[in-house]
């Protein structure tokens, strides 16, 4: 068993959707349903790196368990001021 915090048994897909929503709300990830799959993937990687850097996590650009663990912690929201 790994040490990292035990996360609810969400499927990989659910975790990816959760992460996308988190990055969309907090890191201005543009909508995840865009046409260009590669561009979307690159943007997701960059936003993940931005979040990982802020929290002092290993900057991998991939959704590892440490990163998901931090995303699942209760926190302050950031209102959409632009709108």
């Amino acid at each position: 068993a790994y040490a990292v915090p035990v996360l609810p048994d969400n499927t990989e897909e659910e975790n990816a959707e959760f992460a996308q929503e988190y990055l969309r709300k907090l890191y201005n990830l543009t909508s995840s349903s865009g046409s260009n799959f590669r561009r979307r993937g690159n943007e997701m990687t960059e936003k993940l790196k931005e979040m990982q850097k802020f929290f002092g996590l290993q900057v991998t650009g991939t959704l590892d368990s440490s990163t998901l663990g931090v995303m699942k912690k209760s926190r302050c929201g950031v209102p959409d001021v632009a709108h």
């Binding site: 068993a1 040490a3 035990v6 002092g56 209760s74 302050c76 929201g77 950031v78």
Partner: protein
């Protein structure tokens, strides 16, 4: 710390707030008190004066709402986002919304309203999020006792960058404000060190660093962001490989972690380790995998505890200096890893070879912290 683009701040030092509605989670008087205390956190260290009004439009309008609530930033039900606040400006600027789907309290259950409000009012006054895990403006909620709460130096430097110090008490709070331990501080000393299923954890004050063997950098968290029930400033910790548990000690109590989950039935008394009655605190502990014993360090002596027999071995205590020559007689923390023992004393870490019974390297306490 961070501010909003353009360092948005109020152009005046006298502000008003109005509580538009109340959460049913707490008595109304407790909500009032939590909100008032939360503003006081910031007015204490700035020239700002923030008064409550009971009708009309205040600079900072406070409300408890759920889901979609008209500002294009819907809340998300229990957990996740707890609240949000707008940066200083006319209109919606400064307004603060709490997610009514959360449970707000005056204590450690649910989410402490004072703590959440103090964070949000930091935004309402112009601060963004801080990446200092010890700062109030760190985005992740972690419970601290409101009775002993104080802004961190990071928070104070941020708000005073915007508004300057409190002219009545220009510098009082800053020297006392707690600073988050810096892993690269050459004088760093530690409270406790342990392994945890292949990771290493380094405890200091109300924080811990987590080092995974697969990852170059260490991650720093507040202890309560993982375990609200655990105290700060723990004394010692060790991992029992047999039981797959990590024991954490403070004073005459011990807690147990299974992975990152706190075991039921703890804390228990350290007397469960068969230590002599007069001992109310230990300095360090390590698990000697070679011998299958737990070494418990108290002052300049140590005990060997046999987990299987649940008792202290005969012939103990022994003096640390006699059994571990060269490590200086007293330790802050200790850990065994890959067949070597590491003893931490002040800013030095002694790497000790169990087989040859001697110190093989003297390193800095932060050697493992990736500086």
């Amino acid at each position: 710390y961070s501010t909003f683009p353009g360092a948005l701040k109020w152009k005046k030092n006298s502000l008003t707030y109005r509580i538009e509605n109340y959460t049913p989670d707490m008595p109304q008087a407790d909500v009032e008190k939590a909100i008032e205390k939360a503003f006081a956190v910031w007015t204490k260290v700035t020239p700002l004066k923030i008064a409550q009004i009971y009708s009309g439009t205040a600079d900072i309008m406070i409300s408890f709402v759920t889901g979609v609530h008209g500002d294009n930033s819907p809340f998300d039900g229990p957990g996740g986002f707890l609240a949000h606040a707008f940066a200083p400006s006319d209109g919606i600027g400064g307004d603060t919304h709490f997610d009514e789907d959360e449970t707000f309290t005056s204590g450690s259950a649910g989410y402490n309203l004072f703590l959440v409000a103090a964070h949000e009012f930091g935004h309402a006054l112009g601060l963004g999020h801080s990446n200092d895990p010890g700062a109030l403006m760190y985005p992740i909620y972690s419970y601290v006792n409101p009775g002993t709460f104080s802004l961190s130096q990071d928070d104070i430097q941020g708000i005073q960058y915007l508004y300057g110090p409190n002219s009545n008490a220009p510098n009082d709070p800053v020297p006392d404000a707690p600073k988050t331990p810096n892993a690269c501080d050459p004088n760093l000393s530690l409270n406790a060190v342990t392994t945890l299923r292949g990771e290493m954890m380094f405890f200091k004050d109300r924080f811990f660093w987590r080092k995974s063997p697969y990852v170059a950098n260490v991650e720093q968290y507040t202890i309560t962001s993982f375990w609200p029930e655990l105290p700060d400033n723990i004394d010692a910790a060790y991992e029992s490989r047999e039981r797959d548990l990590v024991y954490l000690f403070k004073g005459n109590q011990v807690w147990a972690l299974f992975g990152y989950d706190i075991q039921q039935g703890y804390p228990q008394s350290i007397q469960k380790f068969g230590l002599p009655a007069g001992i109310n605190k230990i300095d360090a502990a390590l698990y000697d995998e070679n011998a299958g014993k737990v070494l418990i360090f108290v002052g300049n002596k140590y005990y060997s505890y046999d987990e299987a027999r649940r008792r202290i071995d005969k012939g103990y205590p022994k003096s640390i200096e006699s059994s571990f020559p060269g490590i200086g007689g007293k330790v802050d923390a200790a850990v065994e890893d890959n067949g070597l023992m590491y003893f931490f004393s002040g800013s030095r870490m002694f790497e000790y070879n169990i087989m040859s019974k001697r110190v093989i390297r003297v390193l800095a306490t932060n050697y493992f912290l990736g500086c």
